[in-house]
Symmetry: D2
Subunit: 285 residues, 4 copies
């Protein structure tokens, strides 16, 4: 996001006057709305909006416009989040032995596809070390066993907090995070699951898919919650397969899906396009 | 569109205050905005918006809110269109011998997918007559030869004008409309071309695709303009093919594409989701 | 299939010499192999082949070539099926109130996409009657209640047997067939389920998908077995959806998938392209 | 390809007895056919087959089976190519400044997706040098200007010939190869073009697509021939775009397509799945 831009994400009970009030407060301070996307869920009675606006024509200042937004927010009991283009989110990538998602995110970052700083790579294995070094990203090796899991997670949390991490991306990190870890980063941990959830929850989804004889395989990126593979879904994709595909072929085809699906989810999150409610997401793509 | 809803489509030069002014005028009359989608083309310096709102809570009346919109429209030199759910658009389907798109639109209409009245079917052949009858739609047989083309088009225009037709859909109508005919219905004639335009313009695109050995075939729906197959594109789709597919197989696969692509374009148009500018479209889907 | 063609489908334990023996016996009688597709499942140790050949150049006759195939079949303990282009399979379509799949199959049949005779439509409702009449297909109304289910199924079986039905297609037939019915037509009943199985088994899959917040919906065609929605999968497809889609939108998008997925499965079955083993399918598409 | 496997690719005029003769000669030497795929083009009157077989059960030896295949090949005037799993094809990657396809191929190679040795990277720029080093692949910098083009191509040819290169992959190499260069490696140079050919030939296809307002963008991999962007197409894919996508967005979306489409083409070529005839390809995927 360019330095002179800001993004406002809003969620609240649906009421008349929401769109007008938000537009008015931004306009009143001289902000120019560049993009506005809105969604009303008539069943849940909820209102969601994303506004991206240009601050370079402000007639007041950031303090004033924030004050104005806060007033509107209180009047309508809004949950809201305001991000400035000058704040670059800091991301930690968690990886294990598989490297395709890790490489993919680092290459996309270098190609300026992901508006963030990749602050660190954390892995329970060492395979990711030369990769991190190649891209100039600090690497932390945190091996883990059943006995050391608590300590390892504590170390990871400390690294993330010291590093002021805004988003954790599980780039095929093959450890299940404890509920305590997850609770520390609500809607701030994105995972990639190698199936079209809710089909094939848990281990070895490609083998499960092979045995079931499905004609498509999928991948799902989702926020991590305490319940395994049940968090709010951000993005999914599928690809055709057939009886000719061995489990290895499914794994190969799936890698392509995983990379794209995870990268889309991360990009949308970083771009303030994702809102979570009722166990699912609104994605203003 | 439900009877108590209205849709406002707007296009103008981009300026500050557009979003706020439109939201404010609707809110000022008590309208509740249900959906709002906006697009700014920074290169063309253009602003586009679609607002769907509920009239049942109006504190004034339709005349007043139209007056208010007109004022805003004039201030910003907007092109705008306001549609009410009580106005059901009237559609004429033009067909020739091939029946798949005709059937498809009539079945979708019966399933309430297309918010319109199918007022008539016009064809230069008679194959469509029993189909029209089955669906209870008036049928007009207007045969055509090179010599009678002017007269036939005049008859078609008369039928459309008497029938107060809002949209003409060329459902694989195999005649090229004259520039004079096209000029009569600007951005109100939708055609389906059986290729991924701009590839394979003109006759026999499936044969062209076969001979070129492409690995995907496509279909394109577009508004009809004076230049053949060059009008603003509304929707496109492709499907995989291979060396195993004969021209007949491509035709069969293509029929599926044509139906979906045409139906999407027609539905979006009827739902006031399409704006045309600079030879292309904004589709608020 | 043209009258002078034949198709041989073969399944057996994998062994050396299978391809050569089959090719040799066909060649030995003067048949010209037009298409040959083969699959070996190395885990199950199984061999599958589909051979389409031209009989017009036979140097012997059908009795002789069948005798030759039978000999090879016995030597390798093959399961095999030989179909002639002169035998047109007879199909019964089962429908309820929803008409989109029924229309779709009848229109495709008329467009010569489905190599079969549609011998009858059977429905527990009357909506399908004018549709059947429009396409010139005999219609049988077999209403059903919990009490009359046994009798109704018996009547349906009798109609299918008298009508020498080769394939039953459940075109959104909203009744669950009894195990006894299913056992009568093994791998000869094709169903369309409106989800990406194994996700969302059972009732209301679109509502389930809506509540889960998936970003794709799917459809699955499968052979019917005694266990609900668990039969061997023939074809699947998915389409993108988003938070903007209501359950009704998912239903609308799903109809498109259902039609294509069911039609592909039926066409492949009729074209002798599907083999069932180990609860899944080989589809030589 | 495992060391004990071999692949036979065959093309010839269609005649009776081809399948039987090839199967028989392999069987006669004790080879076990694992996969067999065949295609007959009835219009061109051509026959194509790919046979993969296991040599570990040979009752004779490689010299004998080659002799047998040669005899059959001469009898039917076949073009044929026999590859052994023990021969690992050698590949040269040509790159310029853009790195996504280069990275992608190198990562896939490391993940064992591409059965080849990446023998060298050649570039007219230096950006690819650290990437090549990271993956342990020799790098050659061959800068080029209009004046030095002949010399540069001569140097590239020498490197390829000394390196016994079997396949050249243009991984977004932004130089047009001379007809003389192309003639040196017929059907052995694969390019990725960043459009859905034949649409948007030449320079800046993403800008062309943006200006045309298409709703899908594509990528095409093809063998390089003397005529720019006109070689036989191996693989294509498309992805949805909309009015919201800037040229930069199209470039970003396109990168994903380019990587997958190029990687598929390279893998199929290396796996002896591609045959060229009549300016197009048969791909036994």
């Amino acid at each position: 996001m360019s330095a002179h831009l800001a993004t406002l994400l809003v969620a609240c009970q649906d009421r008349k006057g929401l769109v007008a009030s938000l537009a008015q407060v931004l306009y009143g301070h001289g902000a120019n709305i560049l993009d506005s996307d809105q969604h009303t869920d008539p069943i849940a009675g909820m209102f969601f909006q994303r506004l991206r606006f240009d601050l370079s024509s402000l007639t007041t200042d950031r303090v004033s416009i924030e004050h104005g937004i806060r007033e509107v927010g209180e009047r309508f009991a809004m949950t809201w989040k305001l991000s400035y283009g000058t704040q670059v989110p800091r991301v930690a990538l968690f990886a294990s032995k598989q490297e395709h998602c890790l490489y993919d995110l680092l290459i996309r970052h270098r190609a300026a596809e992901l508006p963030c700083e990749v602050a660190m790579v954390i892995s329970n294995h060492t395979e990711a070390e030369p990769i991190s070094r190649h891209f100039g990203v600090p690497f932390h090796h945190l091996p883990v066993t059943a006995e050391t899991k608590d300590h390892q997670e504590a170390a990871a949390i400390e690294l993330c907090e010291l590093g002021k991490i805004d988003l954790i991306v599980l780039a095929r990190y093959m450890q299940i995070l404890s509920p305590a870890f997850v609770a520390r980063f609500p809607s701030r941990i994105i995972n990639i699951h190698h199936s079209f959830l809710p089909a094939f929850v848990g281990a070895n989804p490609y083998r499960q898919a092979y045995e079931k004889g499905v004609k498509l395989i999928g991948a799902t990126s989702h926020y991590v919650t305490a319940e395994l593979d049940q968090g709010p879904i951000i993005e999914q994709a599928t690809i055709r397969c057939s009886h000719r595909d061995s489990v290895d072929d499914l794994v190969r085809k799936g890698r392509d899906l995983e990379k794209r699906v995870l990268a889309n989810a991360v990009r949308w999150h970083l771009d303030d396009r994702v809102l979570v409610y009722a166990g699912k997401t609104v994605v203003f793509d």
